[in-house]
Symmetry: C3
Subunit: 262 residues, 3 copies
């Protein structure tokens, strides 16, 4: 069963909330995408802060509006800092979002992912292979690429949402976002987005920003996906390749408004 | 009291010196802005080198023309490497510059900042919240954002300059640079620069490059601010948003000359 | 003696192979260039993955099509992870490529470079200073800049190739690639490429991608150099400076085909 498309007016209303509150997102993310992630948040109207020393991370998470945990370049040291930050976030009711980059294929991060999944993430955002792996099903991941399509992983996403209480976003050519019962589909974007590193990781940061907003968390997470799909589509329309895509993508996020979303 | 604007011919003369000597800047900076910082230095005609292993950092600082210390993503390990590099720089009279990112709000880096402030930085560059915190006054920082304006922090900057012997730059809508007695104001730039991560951090790297040049250090640091303000202004004039800003900004630094500064 | 230019049809055939197999490159590279390196590989049609925890690196190298080792921001921790990854790569016959950034000038990385040179790299890519240093000859390096020209380092490159069995690429205004007996020259590019951080480091990642392809490894490595020289040349032709260069460069890699190479 194909879920309905997220209605435009819901995304427009989430964007308005995001611009009003400019949430501060504590990003504990991988080394490859830190700059792009920060620029995506800034372009959209949120505020990024990367704080990684365990003591500081524990102090900072409660001050932030949300926390992002991305295991792309996980190390043992970084995993300890992340744990401390998650516990501090939970103690202060700061929502935290999990991006399980390449989980399933690599043993160390897969174990870490299973451990932190029990710590009540507000949302999980991954590709089909990652969501299938988190839900305990096998999939053919190859690094950060997914060899499964997103719709085929929707049942696993629903199962994972029911199990953890998180909103689960499984992203691909079409994105699916579910709370375990209901689901939205989000269309847009294009293949060129897979030729630019960090579009998925940055989406997870936008999901974190949106998890701090009032209203339905399902709608908030789905709207984050829609912002990125729409900006991707608009940027592809004016790009010659992945180089010209990136500036156009950031501009589109910056210029996005309710009309563009309609 | 509003200080005078830095005269154009002083900035032009500093730019000429920078292009002639192409200073090699040893950058120990945060993970988010390393690439942008290196590209800003290269665009302007300086040479960046990021060397972080303690043994190598100690060997490299005396070979470089200046050293940048930026605590944006400080860790305990990195703080030890920075200390070693600062001592080696001081032993060889290599000027070092301090960027106290988010100092005041986070305990670990605030203690580290107080410790190294005693080690004779050539210059300190921060926003109003950071400079107020360094000078022992309270301020409302939120991550890397400043909630105080730069002029209100000028007395704290003057106090800090007198205390440490450093040139202190407090940056914002207008930048102020002081040696404790005299001060310059630097106008330009625009709000879009706050929507691109690393413009402040990269400015600190340019300040480090300029601290290696002959002549008045006050003029040198103020000129670094002016280069960035002017390039920002020129880039904003041809940008649709923060994505198109970045390439235009680097081009403007590369193409900058005495005429543009006049 | 000036080697012959690499014939166009050889580079075209290597590009075709690269696009067909889309090699997965395990990149253990420096903190400054991770994003650009990933985007260069993606633009050209390869797939990057940055995995750095020792246990994961050892698990991942055998799954990847090749491994890149770049010591630009080497730390003691990172050097241990690299060693484990190299041994795992060798055990599974995954080719690995070495980029000896700033070797010669800094003691810690120079010792590490000498150690891993004995572990059978498939290829080594460096500037003249770095290749001279690796071959045991002195050179005047200044950070990542080379003060020697590439042709003067060709004898050292040939010696190094004979000693290690690696293809050695010494790059500069003209690149030279040798297996110890034969050599190709590769022209193109331009001085603006030295004003953008990571063009050399990203080339080494492309060399790693090409080392996984069938056919002559000498031709494969020389073709990697040619792809970057050609994209550089095309990007310079449409750029105002280093800012507009980067997007144009990635677009040129993405749009490259046999015709463009002819």
């Amino acid at each position: 069963m194909q879920p309905d498309l997220l209605p435009c007016h819901r995304a427009a209303s989430v964007l308005q909330n995001l611009r009003l509150s400019s949430p501060l997102v504590h990003c504990m993310t991988n080394d490859v995408v830190q700059n792009f992630t920060a620029n995506v948040l800034l372009a959209l109207g949120a505020a990024p802060a990367m704080v990684i020393e365990p003591e500081e991370a524990a102090q900072f998470s409660p001050l932030a509006d949300s926390l992002l945990i991305n295991v792309g370049t996980l190390t043992a040291d970084r995993s300890r800092a992340m744990l401390v930050a998650i516990h501090a976030a939970n103690a202060s009711s700061t929502p935290w979002v999990f991006d399980p980059v390449a989980v399933g294929g690599l043993a160390f991060r897969t174990q870490f992912a299973r451990d932190i999944l029990a710590l009540c993430p507000a949302a999980v955002r991954g590709n089909a292979s990652e969501i299938l792996a988190l839900a305990g099903e096998t999939a053919g991941g190859r690094g950060v690429d997914s060899t499964a399509d997103a719709l085929s992983a929707l049942p696993a996403a629903q199962h994972l949402a029911q199990l953890t209480g998180a909103i689960v976003a499984v992203t691909g050519e079409i994105d699916y976002v579910t709370d375990g019962n209901n689901a939205w589909a989000i269309a847009g974007g294009g293949a060129l987005m897979t030729r630019v590193v960090g579009t998925g990781c940055a989406l997870s940061a936008v999901v974190a920003a949106c998890c701090s907003l009032p209203g339905s968390r399902l709608d908030n997470v789905a709207s984050a996906c829609r912002f990125m799909k729409l900006a991707g589509e608009q940027a592809i329309a004016v790009s010659r390749g992945p180089g010209s895509f990136s500036p156009a993508f950031l501009d589109a996020l910056y210029l996005m408004n309710g009309e563009a979303l309609a």
